[in-house]
């Protein structure tokens, strides 16, 4: 898994609630047997016009947001399907962090396994963040996972909560499977006790 320590980037605002994983990556792009090529289909139905050209109204196609790695999304981001193709598509595009007032459970779990950091803020903070990105779209924010802080272009800084176990995995760039495998004897003993 890619390591996550600090991230300094501009921010893309997407103030829509309940963005589901079918919007993040529509089902017709799930007919793959690997993880390649998903980035170009991220938000495909919002990002491209019917003729396949970029939709100039969609935020990812606007010049000031090119190359930004932080997504500022609406409430309950990533709801719906369990498809891990959603964080695969987001990270393939270049996103490394998503800020929202809440995340759907499976999406959050999937994101943490792919080096994509979900950052939860309260509604008041979220509204302030939307104002800041609207006023200063060209300025960078800095996420520091070890400190659990986000530093804003205003100079203000806020802290966020993150699951301590997931934080350690992200900071070290290690995945969970190695941890589970290290308890193989306990798993065998559990199976033996139950049979």
């Amino acid at each position: 898994m890619p390591q996550f320590t600090t991230l300094t980037s501009r921010v893309v605002p997407l103030p829509v609630n309940n963005v589901d994983t079918d919007q993040i990556i529509p089902a017709r792009f799930l007919k793959v047997t690997d993880k390649n090529g998903l980035g170009q289909n991220l938000f495909a139905d919002w990002r491209y016009l019917p003729d396949g050209s970029p939709n100039p109204d969609f935020v990812l196609n606007q010049p000031q947001y090119q190359g930004a790695q932080i997504l500022l999304a609406g409430d309950n981001f990533g709801c719906g399907s369990s498809r891990e193709h959603a964080p695969w598509a987001l990270t393939a595009y270049g996103f490394r962090a998503v800020i929202s007032t809440s995340f759907a459970d499976i999406f959050r779990n999937n994101s943490l396994k792919n080096g994509l950091l979900p950052i939860v803020v309260d509604e008041k903070c979220h509204a302030t963040l939307l104002d800041i990105v609207a006023e200063m779209p060209h300025r960078e924010w800095t996420v520091d996972l070890a400190e659990q802080t986000v530093t804003l272009p205003t100079g203000d800084r806020f802290s966020f909560e993150v699951d301590p176990f997931a934080r350690t995995c992200l900071l070290q760039g290690v995945d969970e499977l190695g941890y589970i495998l290290s308890f193989a004897e306990n798993i065998a003993a559990y199976e033996a006790a139950r049979s």
Binding site: V16, D22, A27, N76, E84, L177, N186
Partner: protein, 484 residues
């Protein structure tokens, strides 16, 4: 083990807590629990990268005997007419990517020794339909699948939830998952349902009430008279859509209805093993006085047939209702979210839902593709015709559902009404297999998601029960099943 210690305690516990405690293999301080998984269901779309991960690490599948695979998401439901009997060619209309994905699942199951109910199996079907049919789904088990509607299996008093592909790999390799203990949420449905109101209406009413994020972080236990009165199929419909409220899982305590459904199923315990299992299952229901993190009580007799008007399952209303007005919403993001939904749906605030024309009616999916759902739809369609402006597609949830329906003559009722009778699969619920709406078309669907583009790019979906879908097919516009 920590599980055994807490099982001996006298603290009243919920159904969820009993199952969770029994499945904790390791609980290190500060870390999530390592939770043992009793059943792992696998399908073609969310598993290929997990098997690739196993190969890359040189790992085997730890318990292929606890793993079961089928093909459902991408498989076409249209087949060419049969010549001289034989089996239908399920891949005749499949595209290259679908063929490759299904071939990859077949190869993976072969290599890792996993039983596969594949293309030509008489048990093939939607993964959440065949698990219960085969008796794989049982009370007290932990069940996972790389599919969010795994919550369906909670109808049997199992702890069942959807996982991502990394987690599919974890379960394949270790039969375990790393999980934080979710919170609990009891939703009681007191009273009795009115005629024409079904399990689908219950869950749509709940989601409209608590919202699509209302269950986030929680496992919902559904209880109360109206839940106890449901058959297993209805309970599965309710638990299936728990994820549409954001819940980690949905559960219903097992009872005689559950045990009668399971008895004699291929993978259900037999003989003395059945007696032992039954004795255990009877200990599972939530103890008197057990605490929940949240509770909600609703009056089932007040629920009407429900319909959605927007692009989340929470944007729902009684079928006699109207499209809400975004200008009445103060929060700017909430307001623009509803405006965006109504623009996509091309519906006007204040507009009645009844009478709204629809182009396509879809009856099927892991939510409402079981025999009782088809019977309900057929009860209204018998001797009637689908409106000329409307196309009705009926997709049984499994080969077993299809053959039982045909034995009862339901297929003839559908075909005589002018419907298309298909082979089993996810079909128009996810629109990966060639079954899809055209841009701008309206569908009424017994499936679970009305997201933008879910049933085809630009397609617009109203979610409803099989009864409401059938009533609408006859009329050609959204129609109240109580008036047919």
């Amino acid at each position: 083990m920590s599980g055994l210690a807490s099982e001996q305690s006298r603290q009243p516990r919920s159904l969820f807590e009993k199952i969770w405690d029994r499945h904790v293999v390791v609980q290190e301080p500060g870390a999530p629990a390592i939770l043992y998984i009793d059943r792992h269901l696998v399908h073609e779309v969310t598993s290929p990268q997990a098997f690739s991960g196993l190969r890359a690490r040189g790992l085997k599948v730890r318990r292929p005997d606890l793993t079961t695979a089928t093909v459902d998401h991408g498989i076409p439901t249209r087949v060419p007419p049969l010549v001289n009997g034989g089996r239908p060619d399920r891949l005749a209309f499949a595209d290259e990517l679908c063929r490759k994905q299904i071939a990859q699942l077949e190869a993976n199951c072969q290599e890792f020794g996993i039983p596969l109910y594949g293309l030509d199996s008489p048990q093939q079907g939607i993964v959440h339909v065949i698990g219960p049919e085969l008796g794989l789904t049982q009370p007290g088990l932990t069940i996972v699948c790389g599919d969010s509607h795994t919550s369906t299996h909670g109808a049997f008093g199992a702890l069942a939830f959807g996982i991502g592909t990394s987690e599919v790999e974890h379960v394949l390799a270790t039969q375990c998952l790393l999980q934080r203990r979710p919170k609990t949420f009891e939703i009681r449905l007191e009273g009795r349902l009115q005629p024409g109101v079904t399990a689908k209406d219950i869950i749509l009413a709940i989601i409209a009430r608590i919202g699509v994020g209302g269950g986030t972080g929680h496992v919902i236990e559904y209880a109360g008279e109206a839940i106890r009165s449901l058959d297993m199929e209805g309970r599965m419909t309710v638990c299936n859509m728990s994820i549409e409220a954001g819940a980690r899982a949905g559960m219903i305590a097992p009872d005689d209805t559950t045990y009668q459904f399971l008895a004699g199923r291929p993978f259900a315990p037999q003989g003395e093993a059945w007696d032992r299992a039954l004795a255990y299952w009877r200990t599972l229901p939530t103890d008197e006085g057990a605490a929940f993190d949240r509770t909600l009580t609703l009056d089932a007799s007040q629920i009407e047939p429900m319909i959605t008007y927007g692009t989340t399952p929470g944007m729902g209303t009684p079928i006699t209702g109207i499209v809400p007005d975004p200008t009445t919403i103060a929060d700017p993001v909430q307001r623009s979210t509803l405006e965006k939904a109504l623009t996509y749906m091309d519906l006007r605030p204040g507009q009645k839902l009844l009478g709204q024309p629809v182009n396509v009616v879809f009856i099927g999916s892991c939510t409402n593709g079981r025999l009782v759902d088809l019977r309900a739809a057929a009860s209204l369609l018998k001797g009637r015709k689908v409106a000329p402006s409307t196309r009705l597609i009926v997709v049984p949830g499994s080969q077993a559902v299809k053959s039982q329906a045909e034995a009862e003559g339901l297929d003839r009722i559908f075909k005589e009404a002018g419907a298309e009778w298909r082979e089993p699969g996810c079909s128009l619920c996810i629109a990966m297999n060639g079954d899809q709406l055209e841009p701008g078309q309206y569908a009424i669907s017994t499936s679970n998601r009305n997201f933008e583009g879910r049933q085809g790019k630009g397609g617009r979906t109203f979610l409803a029960s099989p009864l409401t879908a059938a009533a609408t097919a006859i009329a050609g516009y959204i129609n109240d099943p109580r008036r047919v």
